[in-house]
Symmetry: C2
Subunit: 294 residues, 2 copies
């Protein structure tokens, strides 16, 4: 996706929020200085042409530089994984005991896309899951997905956040149980970027023991040009289903067309741009088969 | 006030929201193009030094240019005034029948700071007023104000939005009734800027028949350097009380010190910057005597 009008202000707010979250006592002047770097960058590029994951990477490079930390979310990511793991067995039971475990695991993986373990949200995940109503999955292409599962040989899941990865693992286990013949590959970012999953997270939550884990790109969304050869191989594989998790991955694929690929977006809508592009409301869940233009 | 980190993203969002509100069918590319002008401007100025009303004016000049309209809010402003006038006699009765009409008129003038006559908010004004609880006036320097009213000879009210001006008029009438010896002057912007009041509004709602109306500056907040001589005269007048209405005027005075002036801010907090600077919540009402640094 190219930059949309909703993104411009958001990028500056992301710098501010990230810096405030990561260093509480940072001065306003330092935050403004960091934002100034983005102003300079945006004034030097063609904002109508640059892909959002590339700009997103630039934004988080500014955050890293300002804090002088190559992986400023390291501790938060570990904490998210640990907390997500605490609930795993409870959630696994809910999924296994449900009428359609694969559908339930998809819903769990969507809800996990917004777990915010900061503040009081820890217990909300279980509560959200128990009180989930199918109407919240406002775009639901599960029937198409179920149908395609019986026909394809491979699934590539492009991961999004730490914490969330724990329930991607549950989704994978659940699919493997019902469709043991499908080969599943899980992609993590090739370098630390925001709270996105990297190989560290995949090792920590033992995703590496369950499926093949590969590295994609160092951007907060799929950027084919800066992706590893291995990622490109699995991305363009024949007989493949791609599950793209979260808004960053969605934004990066939106507007690009891959007529030969079968891609499903699984995410929670988190901003007004999603509202406009997908005709949904913030907070809605989406499991959508990618179509031309989307 | 100088630019704060909260303002940067907000300026870009203001361009987007203004353009979307004023021209529903504008293309994303055109909005992005308008935002690009702000990027270029911010990259050329010292963002640590520029005053927010000056940047605010630049932002709305971009909006005007993009729409090729010198006063794009003209129709909306007229509509706001008309609708506010419809409720005048009802609200006037509530104020006159209250225990302390001046305090009530101050509350009305604060609530009027956020009337959004778009969508379903028309009736909310009366409802907000009837259900108003004093706890919502989280900063309340009315006792100081009441005390000073018996001592000073002049009041300068610096107006904010169209619609709202109708209830500034009610505040003025109410003060005049109780303190007929005080001379009140009302300031409007010297040129159209967003939905801020200009001399057109003052004539339309007959403010000109009630008090002397003067023009301040063409910026969406007080900017002394670009203000008229008449405004400067009344602003710096001895024995004067200044009532600064709304967030734009607050922001422009915040951080500047006028030790010889007695200034009261009357506004509704509308953004996270207000939350941080004033330790309030969005939606809270403020009637605050300006102190050094604030």
């Amino acid at each position: 996706m190219k930059l949309e009008p909703e993104c411009v202000g958001c990028l500056f707010n992301q710098i501010m929020r990230a810096l405030k979250t990561l260093k509480h006592d940072l001065l306003s002047e330092d935050i403004l200085q960091a934002q100034k770097k983005l102003i300079t960058h945006l004034s030097n590029i063609n904002i109508n042409k640059e892909e959002t994951p590339v700009i997103g990477k630039f934004v988080y490079d500014i955050v890293s530089e300002t804090l002088n930390e190559p992986d400023p979310y390291k501790h938060i990511k570990k904490q998210y994984n640990e907390l997500a793991l605490e609930y795993y067995s409870k959630v696994e039971k809910i999924v296994n005991n449900s009428e359609d475990p694969v559908l339930k695991a998809i819903i769990v993986a969507a809800i996990a896309n917004t777990i915010d373990f900061g503040s009081q949200h820890e217990i909300d995940f279980i509560s959200d899951l128990k009180h989930f109503q199918m109407e919240k999955l406002v775009i639901n292409d599960y029937d198409k997905f179920k149908d395609t599962l019986t026909k394809k040989t491979h699934i590539l899941i492009v991961g999004d956040n730490s914490g969330e990865i724990v329930y991607d693992k549950l989704l994978i286990s659940t699919i493997k149980k019902k469709y043991p013949e499908i080969k599943i590959v899980y992609a993590v970012r090739s370098a630390p970027i925001i709270n996105d999953v990297t190989i560290e997270d995949a090792k920590f939550v033992k995703m590496v023991d369950l499926v093949q884990v590969i590295e994609s790109c160092p951007t907060p969304g799929i950027h084919i040009e800066s992706s590893t050869e291995e990622f490109k191989h699995y991305f363009y594989l024949e007989d493949n289903i791609i599950i793209s998790k979260g808004q960053g991955n969605f934004e990066s694929l939106y507007g690009l067309d891959f007529p030969d690929l079968e891609i499903y977006y699984l995410l929670k809508a988190k901003c007004t741009l999603m509202e406009r592009l997908l005709d949904v409301k913030i907070g809605d869940f989406i499991f959508k088969k990618k179509t031309i233009g989307f």
